[in-house]
Amino acid sequence: MTTTTAVPLETWKSRRGYSMRRAVAPYLFVLPFIAIFLAFSVYPLLFTLRLSFTNWHGSGAAQWVGLGNYTYLLRSDAFWGSLANSGMLWLLIVPVQIVLSVIVAVLLDNAKLRLRGFYRVAFIVPFVTPLVAVAQIWIVLFDQNYGAVNGLLNLIGLPDVGWLVTSVWAKPTLALLFLWKTSGFIIIILLSGLQAIDSNVYEAASIDGANRPRQVWSITVPLLRRTIMFAVVLQTLAVFQMFAEPFVVTKGGPYNSTTTAGLYLYNHINRADLGTGAANSFLLVIIVMALSLGFVRLLRAKD
């Protein structure tokens, strides 16, 4: 292929205007994106960075406070509390989600499974459903007095649980919402990783007499490591940025037990404490980046 095209390409390349056009083209192609990106991402980002060193409250003159907002946050219990809430949610969500999704993806990867199409659609329905609708449904389903979930519990003789109104249960209930909403997407991503694995590997293993769970653990999981890593990083970003779910369902309560890092950040903004909010944004970005890099390192180290 390359040898046949090499000759005419060389003569064509020598034509006037070729290299010019080829040099200018990429700039024109990125131009619409760059214009939108500069105006609505880079400019606001730089604005936020400058804001994070001031005590601006949305009107009047901004006063330069240096690193004041950052040191305030790093000394604030509420800031660390919001991170702890997000960390707790991460623990409740990500390990369960990854294990569950790997199992489902492996089962769905079987060509002999007849209802494959149905399962794939069913798992992704929550992911497609608008979050606001899901949140409203969750509020009604998990209502302490009138909710269907407590109705089910009563049927089997268990007492009502204050799912969204007690600080013990609010986090798991929120975690369940997130798990339910996003697992379909993770399953599809893992499925794409599985399809890249050569099926000959399994044949060799079944000849060696390895049973299915063993095959999955010792062959599939290691080969799937890069895809799993991608999913973990994606979900870590999502969990630490989680804002809309607690905002609609619990408003951060009860007793701040569901004030996630994302919601805490929003609370500054809502109080027009823009400087602190901006500083909080950058601290959150640094933490999320460090966590992502940590996971990448951890999973790479085993290679």
Binding site: F29, V30, T48, L115, P126, P130, A148, S192, L237
Partner: protein, 291 residues
């Protein structure tokens, strides 16, 4: 196929029964909340609360929907969402692959710096940009306008990142062959790259439509007037609206109308997804195999 499949299937029969039972139970759990909401929306409001699990087929009613249409501007919500969806979707689907093509297949000055910035914004919580963006919109006089709903975020970092992955997989020989045939640089993108990456584009289309349709944080902030409110904004402020419109609106009424509105909001997307699910899933598969 059948002749050889029979013995293997018999050999694997037990594990498959096990998988099916496990998957059926799990999918039921995944579908139950949505199914419950869709069914309950047609129950009399008082019954949703007094008997959340029961279903009396003769008692089904459209009262929740009637009340909801009367109380909140859901029609104009749909219209606003449709306008934003069409224009913003077109911008994303044209600009993101075009820029991604430049990142994947050309060398130019500043490429790595620009792409690095794109990746950085991927890590940024979306709410970080909301204040400065809102101030920018105020300066431009764009608050409560379509431009404000459409332009920010119309070419997002994830779309560029994903499309670059997809386009990298297109063989260079294909592009060079088109060049030999006298195709211009844009012609190569339009007539060679776009047809080849169609599955990935279809995936991006579904994901983009979903994101725009479901977006609510930015619209709540920038377009909260009832004339400009998108469907999700209408939905998110529904509870306050109902209690505001109806003096003494009770919990049951609010719940009934909430479920009716949620059902109306999720049905178009569910239909779209079921129709396009193959493209969507194949699109994601096309995009992430390399990653």
């Amino acid at each position: 196929m059948t002749a050889t499949a029979v013995p293997t299937r018999r050999a694997h029969r037990r594990p498959l029964v096990g998988s099916n039972v496990f998957l059926l139970i799990l999918t039921l759990a995944f579908l139950a909340p949505v199914a419950w909401a869709l069914v309950s929306a047609f129950k009399p409001a008082a019954e949703i609360i007094s008997d959340p699990l029961g279903l009396d087929l003769r008692g089904l009613t459209l009262d929740n929907f009637r009340g909801m249409f009367h109380d909140v501007p859901i029609g104009s919500g749909f219209l606003n969402t449709a306008v934003v969806l069409v224009i913003k979707g077109a911008i994303t689907l044209f600009c993101a692959p075009l820029a991604a093509y430049a990142f994947a297949k050309y060398d130019f000055r500043g490429k790595n710096a620009i792409f690095g910035t794109v990746l950085l914004t991927l890590m940024l919580p979306t709410i970080v940009l909301i204040i400065p963006l809102l101030l920018e919109m105020k300066q431009l006089g764009w608050v409560n306008t379509y431009q404000a709903l459409i332009l920010p975020g119309s070419v997002d970092a994830f779309a560029i990142f994903w499309m670059r992955q997809v386009i990298s997989a297109v063989p260079d020989e294909l592009l060079d062959a088109a060049r030999v045939d006298g195709c211009g640089e844009f012609g190569i993108f339009w007539r060679v790259v776009v047809p080849v990456i169609r599955p990935g584009l279809a995936g991006l289309a579904v994901l983009t439509i979903m994101n725009i349709y479901n977006d609510f944080v930015w619209p709540v902030v920038v377009a909260s007037s009832s004339k400009m409110a998108t469907l999700q904004v209408v939905l998110s402020t529904l509870a306050q609206n109902i209690t505001g419109h109806k003096v003494g609106a009770d919990y049951a009424t609010v719940t009934g109308e909430l479920l009716a509105a949620s059902s109306i909001a999720l049905v178009p997307l569910l239909i779209l997804f079921i129709v396009l699910q193959k493209h969507f899933i194949n699109g994601i598969l096309a995009g992430s195999v390399k990653g």
